[in-house]
Amino acid sequence: MNAWLYLHFPHLLLDYQQALQPPEAAVVPTALIQTRARQQQVVQANLAALQQGIRLGMADVLASTMCPQLQLRPYQEAQEHRVLTQLAQVLYQDIGHLVLTPPHGLICEVRSMVQLHRGFHGVVQRLHQRLQQWPLRYLLSSGYSPLAAQLLGWAGCPVVSEHATEVKQALWRLPIECSGLPAEQIAKLRDVGLVTVGALLQRPRAELGERFGGALLHYLAALTGELIPPQSPYHPPDRFDEKIELVAEAQSWPQVMFPLKRLLQQVEGFLESHQWSTRGLLIRAHHRDGSTTQIKVRLARPTWQQGELLQLSQLHLARQQLTQPVLALSVRVLQPEPRQAVATSLIAQPATKTDELTGLIGRLQARLGEHKVQQLHTAMDWRPEYQGQLQPWQATAGQPQVTQRMPRLRRPYWLLAQAQPILRQQWQLQWGPERIVSGWWQADTIQRDYYIAVDRQYRQGWIYHCSDGWFLHGWFS
């Protein structure tokens, strides 16, 4: 059984950079260059560039002569490593044992996942599905040892099969140059006529060891899977704070939507792997002078789904003016919390209704501001302005109704935020007085006589008399 899969991303950094741009940008031939042996060489190229005849390892001068509109950018190793880590975070949702093999590969252990994903092909399918979200070019190869899978991936002749024999056949045919051994070692092997990996494996081990040293024996043991070199498997981090460098400066929010979508995709992966949800995000746009524009996205209910996060983030961003161009974008997850089982009821209808209500409130709060969306709140207090208040809406709306313990009294439907002084002679008293004396334990003591009264337009008001005079406090209407 082939217990290892190797994922090879030959153009990882370039593909990733293109994923952050709108799809139109992929039409322009682009390549990444790196200094190798005192020469600038093409190390990664996009499809458009490959179609124009650009090959990897080509000198930059030659490449730009062949294809004048070719865009060249320097290759950055640190950035590619960061991309690889982000990718591992995404794949960690499906594969438990992942090993990063920089610069652009990932090793996955399959055996422990076979049960979960229903067989070897289930695992492979799962990986393909997951990687479809990313427009990356990749090779997937299987192997009975990590090294065997890697060699097939590097050589560009991947074998995806459950059976070790097929891998073995492909491996034996590989030329010795693709063995991954140091160059001088390869030269020596070539000199004695061992031109394929198969030829090397056929020779008796002891003789090979005598002639070429212990390092080769270690290599052979790793290749056949007898010995697996120590690995440091990937562990997802406990916090999420990722940054994306934009390829070009962005002047407006719509231009950063693509990178933001990617980041939120990672947020979902991060939250999914921990079985967490979040109540907030911090989006930062980094400017040229080192300053940042910070946008705090607060959520009415904890969530982990990228679609919802994106929608709310967009509404939040629309409220904020972008004053300077953006060079980089970062997202931090605030207040992650373990997911709580949604209280399931036998009758599904009301549960989904409240769920949708919190969704609506979340959208309204995101666009209008939190304090503008309010709910009615009641408290155990005799003072009218404390008994019923408007408060910013919170997800924990299922609070016990306090009013049931208060005697039910005839109260107006409207309360004025600030009581209005009135002229007594314009009102005709109809009912009252009801004296309310309360609040002596706070500085806000009241002593009022309330009446229901009718004004000259026959409207019913709730008015009171206190030591300061007559006031209108509410309306029955």
Partner: protein, 214 residues
């Protein structure tokens, strides 16, 4: 009912529209009783499900909320209050068995954002009733809200001062409220009939009893 034979023939064919009778294909539509029999009768059965209605008020607090309380009591899902003139007072509403947990109050001064919120509420499945206070809605805005309300089968009320112009609007019903001793309702426009002169509506049942202290 005795009509001349020619008129009778036209009625048989369904070519004659009678102002007072709801057309048969419309009667199946769902009405929500307004809670006031005299008003229901004039509206053809109550508020039409999936409609936007206008309440023009002579002054604020003339009795418009009392008129709507039966609907508030009846609605199962949430109600959105958009830009109410004062705070809705929880103890008063809970006295009338209005479910406080279902009331969402939004205050937004920017008219564009307020309309956006109204539309969001109408498009959401969780909100059944929209109460919106607005000084003057344009014909295009009303049409847009009416379309949203109709598509989602929501009930919406726009409470606005008496409008001076008689421009047409896409409201299903337009009511003008004024008060003498009782609340007077004048129907400026209704779905199944002519406009009607003011008639009294007994909303004072839901208000404290009026009497004089001499």
């Amino acid at each position: 009912m005795a009509f001349p034979a020619q008129v009778e023939a036209l009625m048989q064919k369904g070519w004659l529209w009678q102002g007072q009778v709801a057309p048969p294909q419309q009667t199946k539509q769902q009405f929500i009783s307004s809670g006031w029999p005299e008003l229901d009768e004039q509206l053809g059965g109550g508020w039409l499900q999936g409609s936007i209605n206008e309440l023009q008020i002579q002054q604020p607090f003339v009795g418009e909320l009392a008129l709507l309380i039966p609907v508030l009591q009846r609605v199962q899902a949430a109600t959105l209050w958009l830009n109410p003139p004062q705070q809705p007072y929880a103890p008063g509403l809970s006295y009338q068995q209005v479910d406080l947990a279902q009331q969402v109050v939004v205050q937004e001064a920017d008219p564009k954002l307020a309309l956006w919120a109204a539309e969001q509420a109408l498009l959401s499945d969780s909100v059944q009733l929209l109460l919106m206070w607005h000084p003057h809605l344009s014909a295009v805005q009303v049409r847009r809200l009416q379309q949203a309300a109709h598509a989602q089968q929501k009930l919406a009320f726009v409470i606005t001062p008496w409008q001076s112009s008689e421009e047409a609007r896409a409201y299903v019903n337009r009511l003008q409220l004024s008060r003498t001793e009782q609340l007077q309702v004048r129907l400026l426009k209704r779905r199944f009939g002519w406009p009607l002169p003011p008639f009294p509506c007994s909303v004072d049942k839901l208000l404290p009893r009026r009497r004089r202290i001499v």
